[in-house]
């Protein structure tokens, strides 16, 4: 018995749901950031699964682009996190609920 496409899609859905739950539950900015990375990865799994089962390389190309966007997000996001920490001495999102500094 070989893994079906639906297995991968189900795994991806579970990972995405866990990521969404993490973004909702967590209060630490860095932990929320990591949950967003988790969601991006679950979408990547969907892309690769479709690319493999339909024998089309396009899905893998978009995984590549998603990884680039994730790297850019990591750089800018962590810069924002450092700026917030410098201003508020805290990483709790409740302490940064207004845009004013």
């Amino acid at each position: 018995m070989t893994p079906q496409l639906s297995w991968y899609l189900a795994l991806s859905a579970v990972l995405f749901t866990v990521g969404v739950a993490g973004v909702v539950i967590k209060r630490n900015v860095i932990a929320m950031f990591m949950c967003i990375e988790l969601m991006l990865n679950s979408v990547n799994l969907t892309f690769v699964a479709f690319a493999s089962f339909f024998q089309d390389v396009t899905g893998q190309l978009f995984v590549f682009i998603v990884m680039t966007v994730a790297a850019a997000e990591a750089a800018v996001g962590l810069g924002i996190i450092i700026a917030i920490f410098r201003n508020r001495e805290s990483l709790d999102v409740d302490d940064a609920s207004i845009l004013k500094l």
Binding site: C35, A51, A74, I80
Partner: protein, 222 residues
């Protein structure tokens, strides 16, 4: 055999993902997230995508997570403390909505015919580095270029966000709320020197320094 491997790596991925959410220490979250990335890379290998698997390990588990762990240790994040529950009245509503959502998913899964596609057994070049490179530089050249511009913007944005005000060029003269003045602004007779700068914490201090500069301008005429 493949099914066993899938169950192993999928279980590892889900377990590590739940650990990411359940842990309170951000560093343990990061380690669990690396576990998710590694097990996903193994799944990519099973899906005949070795290049993506390698990039997953190098870029995600290597570069991005090193950056995250670096920031966690730099900021010396303490564990989340337990807090009183806010908005407790929303819990029953959340349970009801979750039940509705699960019912919807079950309905969709039962009514939609699951995809009958099975993996073809013939050897193809999908997933090889050369085919990905060919697609990236021919059909999808525009997204590739846009990605490079995005990376450039991210570099500039990260530098702008993370730098401190003290690292501004001393040549910057009167920026609103200026804190740093080049010495030759205050005294024009001083030689141009980029390495020394005066620092004033308040706007009034800046004004005082500027007044000194005006005095120097006016003294030779008198």
């Amino acid at each position: 055999m493949l099914a066993l491997l899938f169950i192993l790596f999928a279980g590892l991925a889900v377990g590590c993902a739940i650990a990411v959410v359940a842990q309170r220490n951000p560093l343990y979250c990061a380690i669990s997230l690396i576990g998710v990335f590694i097990s996903l890379a193994c799944l990519y290998v099973m899906l005949a995508a070795p290049f993506i698997a390698a990039v997953q390990v190098i870029v995600y588990a290597g570069a991005i997570m090193v950056l995250v762990v670096f920031v966690i240790m730099l900021l010396n994040v303490e564990q989340e403390e337990r807090r009183r529950q806010r908005l407790a009245f929303l819990v029953p509503a959340a349970v009801i909505l979750a039940a509705v959502l699960i019912a919807e998913v079950a309905f969709i899964l039962s009514s939609v015919q699951l995809s009958p596609v099975t993996p073809t057994q013939n050897v193809s070049d999908v997933g090889l580095t050369s085919s990905i490179g060919t697609g990236l530089f021919t059909t999808y050249l525009l997204p590739f270029e846009i990605t490079s511009i995005l990376l450039l913007m991210a570099i500039v944005g990260a530098m702008t966000l993370a730098r401190q005000a003290k690292m501004l060029s001393p040549r910057a003269r009167v920026v609103p709320g200026a804190q740093i003045l080049a010495l030759n602004v205050i005294d024009p007779r001083l030689p141009l020197d980029d390495t020394k700068a005066l620092e004033a914490s308040t706007t009034t201090e800046v004004e005082r320094l500027l007044a000194i500069a005006h005095d120097h301008d006016s003294t030779p005429r008198d």
